[in-house]
Each structure stands twice: as C-alpha cells, then as structure tokens.
C-alpha cells in the first residue's frame, strides 16, 4: 500500500531530508522492552527497528497498549531497552546528545508551581538556557513563556496553578513546556487528545508552523489519523500488543498544508486506508 499515490504531489518535498549531519536523529536497533521477569513478564515492545533522519516528522499510530509510549520512553531514556540499542543523535540515549522536549500522555504539571513556572522549568535545567536562568527568568525567558502560552490561548492563565485548569488547558501547557527550550527532538504523546475539534485543528496549525520554522525532529504518537496525515511526513503503524511496526509510509503532501485539505477526497482515502490497516491488526 502506498498512501501517497492518491495525493496530487505537486512539488513533493523529499521525505527524508538529506541532512548535513550524517547520523540519524534517532535509531532503534532491535530494541525490545520486557517488564518484570519469569512467569509475570510483560512484553511491552517486541524487537523494533526504526530510523528517523533529522527534520523528520513521524507519526506513530496503533491500537492502545501496543507500546507507543514505551518507544517514547526509550528515546527519552526513561526506560532502558531490555535488548537492542536506542541511539539518539548517533549516541546511546543516556548520553543526551540531542536536546529533547517531551509532552507526556498525562500532563504532569508540578502542582506547587504556576503554569508560567512549570513551562519555564526546561529553561532552568537545560543548557544553554540554565546558565543565564537567574538573569533571564524575569525578562527574556518570561516573555518567551508568555508568547508560547498566548499562542495556545492560555495568556491569562500564566499565574494560575495547575489545579485551576481544565484537562485540555493542562494539555496545552504541557505542549508549551515541551517546546519552550527549542528541542532538537520533540516527543509528543497524544498531545491533543483532550481537546475539542476546533482547538485541536488550531493547535495542529500552530504545531505545523513551529515545525516548519525550526525543523526539529518530531515523533508524534496519536490515535487521530487525520492528525497524523495533516502533520507528519511519515506514518508508522504498529500492531497490537506486543507491538511492532508493520507499516512505514511517507506522506507526500507538500508543507505547509492547508487545514481544509483534511476534507479532500484524496486525504480521506489515505486515512481510510490507514484505518483499515489498524482495524486488521487489532483483530488479529
């Protein structure tokens, strides 16, 4: 199946941007994850291979429990592979070769900090921002945080505490926190899940602008096939638990993409195909 065949490919961009950096941004080499041992061992991820060049925007879709979050945790070094290798920027994940921004599936704002302070946290921890954190936290950094919050419609909530925000608002702050330190590698775990369709489409456009602006490498986990098709230039489908990647296809639609595009017949057909594929792997 080639999802791109039905899309009018005007000046289709090369999917895997020929990078000046020869090393891929991300590489899983037969990486697997097994929780526990012996009789109650749970395989969260069967040996998986995945490679992302710098500047790739990859969407990872698949049934619940198939190991998508597990892959993100491997890349961000929250988990170590039971077997195989996880290379980030050509080095093992723990070397932190690339600057990582991660939006977790459940927004985990620190409850004792305001939204502003929460979003600013990466600037306090990550070089080169942390070196000037003391001077800039009330100046340049604050402005940057406020600009981001304004972009996602949370301008008036900077001084609020997490418990004063709704689930969707927390998710938007979560996204800001993942972006604030301009990461090279962005890991997004269903970042738009708890939002209404309009806010979601709005954030897709913001996301696309941010991506085209700086071209970070993005690994997006989502259940929304339109989201995957609209944002990504590559879609990987995972099989049901224990998961592995069963399909890896480019999306050959030039960017920037217009939001109206997701209602075009060609796009609908592409998502239909994906949908059927996932329906198949769920039932087997």
């Amino acid at each position: 199946m080639n999802m791109s065949s039905n899309i009018p490919a005007r000046d289709a961009q090369p999917v895997q941007t020929a990078s000046v950096h020869s090393r891929p941004a991300l590489e899983l080499q037969n990486a697997s994850v097994v929780f526990g041992s012996g009789a109650n061992a749970v395989t969260a991820l069967t040996p998986t291979n995945l490679k992302m060049e710098r500047g790739d925007f990859l969407a990872l879709v698949g049934p619940s429990g198939c190991g998508k979050s597990t892959i993100l945790k491997l890349v961000s070094n929250l988990l170590q592979p039971s077997e195989g290798l996880v290379l980030v920027g050509g080095k093992e994940a723990r070397a932190k070769e690339l600057r990582i921004g991660m939006a977790f599936q459940n927004p985990t704002m620190l409850p004792w900090l305001t939204i502003e302070q929460n979003v600013m946290m990466p600037l306090k921890i990550v070089s080169p921002f942390k070196e000037t954190y003391r001077q800039d936290k009330t100046g340049a950094f604050r402005d940057r945080v406020h600009a981001l919050l304004a972009q996602v419609g949370l301008k008036d909530f900077a001084q609020h505490y997490p418990w004063q925000l709704s689930g969707g608002m927390l998710q938007r702050s979560n996204l800001c926190r993942a972006l604030v330190h301009e990461p090279d590698l962005l890991l997004l775990d269903e970042p738009f899940g708890a939002l209404d369709q309009f806010t979601r489409e709005e954030l897709w456009q913001i996301m696309q602008d941010l991506y085209l602006d700086r071209k970070p490498t993005v690994l997006l986990v989502t259940h929304d096939l339109r989201e995957a098709g609209y944002l990504a230039n590559r879609i990987c489908v995972m099989s049901a638990r224990p998961g592995r990647i069963i399909s890896d296809e480019p999306v050959n639609i030039p960017q920037p993409r217009d939001i109206g595009m997701i209602y075009s017949p060609a796009f609908v057909e592409m998502t239909q195909n994906l949908r059927e594929l996932i329906a198949q792997v769920r039932s087997t």
Binding site: I100, T108, W112, I125
Partner: protein, 257 residues
C-alpha cells in the same frame, strides 16, 4: 454570621466559660487556694511576679528554639539521606520507627549524666525529641514522590541534585511543615521537662521550686504561661505551613497526611 465566625465565637466562649466556671465553683465549694487557686488569683500572681518570671520564659523559649533548630537541621539532613534512596528508605524505616517510639523523656538522665544540669540537657532533649518526626516525614515525602513528576526533569537530562531541588524537596514540603508543627510542640515539652528535673532556670524549674515551697498560685501561673507559649508556638508554625504549602491543601493531585 459565617460558619468560621460562629466557630470562633463558640471556641472563645468555651474558653472564657471554662475559667468562669472554675472561678465560680472554687468560690461556691469554698476550695482552699492551697489546693486549687482561682483564676483571678493566678492572674494576679502572674501580673505581680512577671518581672521575675520573664527571664525564665525567655530561658524556656531559648532552650526550645535552639534545640528545635538543631533538630530541624539534623532531621532534614537525615530525612533527605534516607528518603532519596528507595533502598535506604526501606532499610532504615524500621530503625527510625523503633527510635521514634522510645519515650524520649528517658534520655534526660543520660544528658544530665554527660553534661551536668542546666541549659545543655534542656537543649539536647528538645533536639532529640523533635528529630524523628521530621526525619520520618521528610523521608516519606521524598520516597512517595510520583515517578511521573521526576520523569519530567529526567527527560531534560537533569542531575540527581536538580531533581531533588526541583521536585523532591518541594514535594516533601507539606510533609515537612506538618512535622514542624508536631516537632515544635515536642521540643517545648522536652525543654520544660528537662528544666523541671535538671536546671535552675526556665518555667519548668520555676514550677518545681514553687511547688516545693507551696506557692500554689505560682505553680498554676507557670502552667498557664506554658499553655500560652505552647499555643503560640504551634500557631506560628501552622500559619507558616498554610503560607508555604497552600498548593497541597487546595489542589487534589496530592493528598497530604
């Protein structure tokens, strides 16, 4: 009248009523002031003897606060050491619980033995008695930190110290301040106790001396001063607690015990 106002009014009335009943019953039943002096007599004694009592009040306060401060420093240090490592926490917990259930009064004679009587055993008693609740609370606060909160910093490549400063310690603050309220009260009890047996200063000592001289209303004056000091110390720290850790009682993410 709001609920809080009503509650305030009722508790004030209860306190006033208690002393009134005490006064009236003493008069009606003709109780000798060698057994139970009337509140009005106690008040007069407090007033007339205040210049003599004042240095003792300061002394008790001094022993309490110095001992308490030492206890906090030691308690926080031990708590952080124990709480940051899951293994250390599991290993040390039984020992800590064991220590904290010893009646700390029992250490007074030991301190007197080592340091003679006076301020030193009072300070040390105040210290020893308040260390364990602080250690246990800090360690529990740290050890029960949600891994998800730490993950936020881990993905950013934060060091262990950065995680401790930005997640562990703030997360443990409600536990810490809850333990301070308990600790200051315990320190106060410890200091007074040590004064009663091994000092020639402090309210504890005043009460002991007065009792052996049958100055009954002075004994009771001391008691009331102690009560007032205890309430004041507790109030200061619960105010501080509310100021610093409001997020824990307003949010529902994290339950505080």
């Amino acid at each position: 009248m709001t609920d809080t106002q009503r509650i305030r009014f009722l508790s004030t009335s209860l306190i006033v009523g208690f002393f009134l009943a005490w006064e009236v019953l003493c008069i009606l039943l003709n109780v000798s002031d060698l057994v139970l002096p009337r509140p009005s007599e106690i008040l007069v004694t407090m007033w007339t003897r205040f210049p003599v009592l004042w240095p003792h009040i300061l002394q008790t306060l001094y022993s309490t606060l110095v001992g308490f401060s030492l206890g906090v420093v030691i308690g926080v240090t031990l708590g952080v050491l124990v709480g940051t490592s899951k293994i250390a926490y599991a290993v040390a917990y039984p020992l800590l619980v064991g220590f904290s259930s010893i009646p700390k009064v029992a250490v007074v004679p030991i301190f007197v033995l080592w340091f003679g009587s006076g301020t030193t055993p009072a300070v040390l008693t105040a210290m020893v008695i308040c260390v364990f609740p602080i250690v246990v609370n800090i360690a529990t606060g740290l050890a029960t930190t949600e891994p998800e909160l730490e993950d936020v910093l881990k993905t950013l490549g934060a060091s262990k110290t950065e995680i401790l400063w930005n997640v562990g310690l703030p997360r443990a603050m409600p536990y810490f301040f809850a333990s301070l309220k308990v600790a200051i009260t315990l320190s106060f009890v410890g200091a007074v106790l040590s004064e009663t047996v091994a000092s020639n200063m402090g309210i504890g000592n005043v009460m002991m001396t007065a009792s052996s001289n049958f100055q009954v209303s002075l004994v009771f004056a001391g008691l009331i001063i102690l009560a007032l000091m205890g309430v004041a110390l507790y109030a200061v720290f619960s105010l501080l607690e509310r100021r610093v850790t409001g997020w824990a009682t307003r949010g529902n993410d994290i339950a505080v015990t």
